[in-house]
Symmetry: C2
Subunit: 239 residues, 2 copies
């Protein structure tokens, strides 16, 4: 079952006007976040156009969209590539997260519904039950972003998403090589955060969250090998 979206618009829907670029963007976003396209790698318009069964116009739009999301870097007349970040840049992105995400949480918390809280608890239980790296990344991301889902102010919400996107690759490399020990720490910190959220305690939530991010940043700084031409990791078979 190759889940590839590679078949051109053979028997697909009628392609409702104004959806092609979004479809292409989804395709590329998934590929980049999954690590199928590694940082530093070029992304050729024609290739993507063929892979998605569209012309190059929606591809260009999608590339610009993804540039805004921090997943693509565009250089005039030279094309697009996935940004390659230095340790210092990743560190600074984590510092930005330390300051911004507590704000997003404070903005979001009052708007989280009981259903949201249930889903959060369920997610955390799933994280603790399953120790597969790929799944951990997915669930951890879902957990945190759900935490911010009550924040409806665009610049803040989109900025937080962008910061997560930019460092997704390095998170994967980091988690892959740090083993299950680190997941326990993360889970403990998630539990504290979750508890604060359930108590609707903004102050505690902000404190636990910034501490969570700060400790992750410090831990990451102790693993420079994450940046040593990190493996693409798309078929993350346990070594």
């Amino acid at each position: 079952m190759s889940s590839s979206v590679a078949d051109p618009a053979a028997s697909r829907g009628p392609d409702p006007h104004g959806a092609a670029s979004a479809r292409v963007a989804d395709h590329l976003r998934t590929a980049i976040l999954d690590g199928a396209i590694a940082p530093g790698e070029r992304v050729r318009q024609e290739e993507v156009a063929q892979a998605t069964g569209s012309s190059r116009i929606p591809v260009r739009e999608a590339l610009h969209l993804l540039e805004a999301e921090g997943l693509i870097e565009n250089e005039p007349n030279k094309g697009a590539r996935v940004p390659l970040l230095s340790p210092h840049e990743v560190d600074l992105i984590y510092r930005m997260r330390e300051r911004l995400e507590p704000l997003a949480l404070a903005e979001s918390l009052p708007h989280l519904t009981a259903a949201d809280l249930e889903r959060l608890t369920r997610l955390q239980e799933d994280i603790e039950a399953d120790s597969d790296v790929r799944r951990f990344l997915e669930l951890d991301r879902a957990f945190h972003l759900l935490t911010y889902s009550g924040c409806h102010v665009d610049p803040l919400a989109s900025m937080v998403t962008r910061l997560w996107n930019s460092t997704q690759h390095y998170r994967r490399a980091f988690v892959s090589m740090s083993g299950p020990g680190r997941m326990w720490v993360v889970n403990a910190e998630h539990r504290l955060l979750l508890d604060a959220i359930e108590r609707r305690d903004v102050e505690d939530g902000e404190r636990f969250l910034s501490g969570h991010i700060r400790r992750t940043r410090i831990e990451l700084a102790r693993h420079p090998e994450v940046f040593d031409r990190a493996p693409t990791g798309t078929h993350g078979s346990p070594g």
Copy 2:
């Protein structure tokens, strides 16, 4: 003196490949930041194309670029418009600035050159010498952004610029109606900040800066009339 750039590519250069979209983006950015296009106003592709003497393709690219900069809002099949922000959204943007800009300053400060410091001092002197609203906005923006010019990490630098862009219109409305009294406060705070920068004191710089932004936010919150269908202000004739 219509400063319009409306003459099509009559005697303009040969348009070196890959510059049209940038030219269009500059045109629109200036128009929006100057208030020539007010928040909530639509931006039609064909109009811009004619005004800049290009086809609609570079216009689309420019609109997406500006969307990433927070100056344009795109809705599928409905077109582009300048975002209209609520008081709460502006307030939250200022809170983001409170947290992000000190970080940008800390990152930038060690890389500022002696020439930068001279230019900063010169700018501040110009601000104090000239009390015209339009000029104040321009110089104040230049002052702060120059302060961050040593920060070469893209997500941070671009985010700061985006936050400034998003609220430019409301800053104009605010400064227009708050009179020269407020400028004195701003100047005093700028002097403190400038002094900390010259001493290369990161901690003081961060503290003065976040205080500067916080006080501006609080002051702005006391002037809800800024949001009462604020005048376009492009020909800000004293009323």
